[in-house]
Amino acid sequence: MLTNFKRILKFAGNDFSRNRGNNAAAIFVLVIPILLATSLFLFQGLSQSVISQIQSKMDVTAFFKEDVAEEDILAVRDELLRVSSEVKSIQYVSKEKALQDFIDRHKDNPDFMQALAEVGVNPFLASLNILTDQPHQYEKVSAFLESGPFSELIEKVDYSQKKDTIEKFSNISSSINKFGFILGGVLFLIAILVVFNTIKLSIDNSKDEITAMRLVGASNWFIRGPFIIQGMICGFIAFLICLIVSGVAAYFLSPKIEILAPGFSIFSYFISNLGIIALIQIGFGVGLGVLAGFILVRSYLKV
């Protein structure tokens, strides 16, 4: 058993070194589906990050009427937190805090300061700023505030203006995702066909050899083993190439992508997911190489 395995390895090594041209072609075509799978993974990470960034910028703000007392507002806050599991956090902003925020933000702008001075009193309303876990929950929260038991206290709910932007973005991102996956899937299928075809050309070369091996009494595994191991070697080399290529690409594309998606570094994402990426690449490389060897040799093992 062990002797056989050692021999199969030795045959594989010999055949691999004698078959460099075909193996180089096989490695080259194996690189394509691996890189495709890797890009899909990275793209997934990118879009996830963009979505969560935009989600974190979404909120619902309820402005309270001028005459509502602070305790009442805080009571509404506590009640909201108690009844709704969808609410992640609520921040209370008093009239004074709102004024201070405005001044901090616009202190360098004389026009705004001038306007504020002309008003004379604090024109801001106290508000509750509400964050939820999921974007679609904003609608519910906003409807609850507008028509629920507290509607009497509330001047207005600031959600609908942001609603359009939010919906537009989720539509775009889900169609990009869908399109990306369909396109990726089609390209991936084509790449696999190319892989099988290239490896088939190489194995076709050994058609008579495989028959002759059957004629002298070699078992299927004794014949198939070296081909499968060659597929494994090709897949592994393709994996190494892809790991380097995708790492280098992520490094150089990182600044450009950061312009599109601020706060997302594709290179850091690559590094922090290195284990999964390597697993995906080895899986596709070695898996495809082995599978192609297995299936294609089988068709010549008839006699």
């Binding site: 002797t3 056989n4 021999r7 010999n14 055949d15 004698r18 078959n19 070369n205 050994s206 008579d208 050899e209 028959t211 002759a212 091996m213 059957r214 004629l215 002298v216 009494g217 070699a218 078992s219 299927n220 004794f222 006699v303």
Partner: protein, 226 residues
């Protein structure tokens, strides 16, 4: 040892190559199977190795019906019969040395034994200098000698030679025949298919004559009569 019982082989749609063929070959016999080109000699050998299935009839090897053998058992059978194929069936991507070592590896022989025996058989067949060449770098005669070397290196009980002298000059022909003879003298069974009248007559051994798919003669000390 080998028994053909009423074996008929018809290729679709209606090419009957062997027609109700029966004979028995005993352990240690040297049997020539003769007949014109197309008489069915190669088909008969392919049937014996389970490379083709007979349309009807039974084929026994050492009392077991080869038609009932599983794929893995057929491979064991093929290890036990050394065959020199008419078209050699060499391993084109392996060197001369590796071609011979391969059949020993298939049989599971130890590395030291393989090294020793391959060197020995290369010496006997005069291929030592070509050990690292590939089959397509050999002359026709050298390829044939390699096929012989590969067939006998495992010391099988039976050796089957399908026109092993077909492409050889008289000198190489003599060499191959004397190798087969030597093999026979060690108690092994030899099946020798040929359409070469001169060689068969010189052998003076049992001759089974095929014509149009039928056994028309089976002579103890036969001659090539057609």
């Amino acid at each position: 040892m080998i028994k053909f019982q009423n074996v008929t082989k018809t290729y679709p749609p209606d090419t009957t190559v062997l027609n109700n063929v029966s004979f028995e070959i005993k352990l240690g016999e040297f049997v020539s199977i003769v007949g014109k080109s197309g008489a069915g000699k190669t088909t008969l050998i392919r049937l014996l190795l389970g490379l083709e299935k007979p349309t009807s009839g039974q084929i026994l090897f050492k009392e077991t019906n080869i038609l009932h053998k599983k794929r893995s058992q057929l491979q064991e059978l093929r290890q036990k019969i050394g065959v020199i194929y008419q078209d050699y069936k060499l391993l084109g991507h392996k060197t001369v040395y590796e071609n011979i070592a391969y059949v020993m590896a298939v049989k599971g022989e130890k590395d030291e034994k393989i090294k020793k025996e391959v060197a020995n058989i290369l010496e006997i067949t005069g291929l030592s200098a070509k050990a690292d060449n590939f089959p397509n770098e050999l002359s026709g005669g050298e390829q044939q000698r390699l096929a012989v070397a590969r067939a006998i290196v495992n010391q099988p009980d039976v050796i089957v030679a399908d026109e092993p002298t077909g492409n050889l000059d008289p000198y190489n022909t003599y060499e191959v025949i004397s190798l087969l003879n030597k093999f026979h003298e060690t108690g092994k069974t030899v099946i020798f298919a040929s359409h070469n009248k001169e060689i068969i007559n010189k052998l003076g051994k049992r001759v089974i004559t095929l014509e149009e798919g039928k056994v028309i003669r089976d002579d103890k000390k036969g001659r090539f009569i057609l």
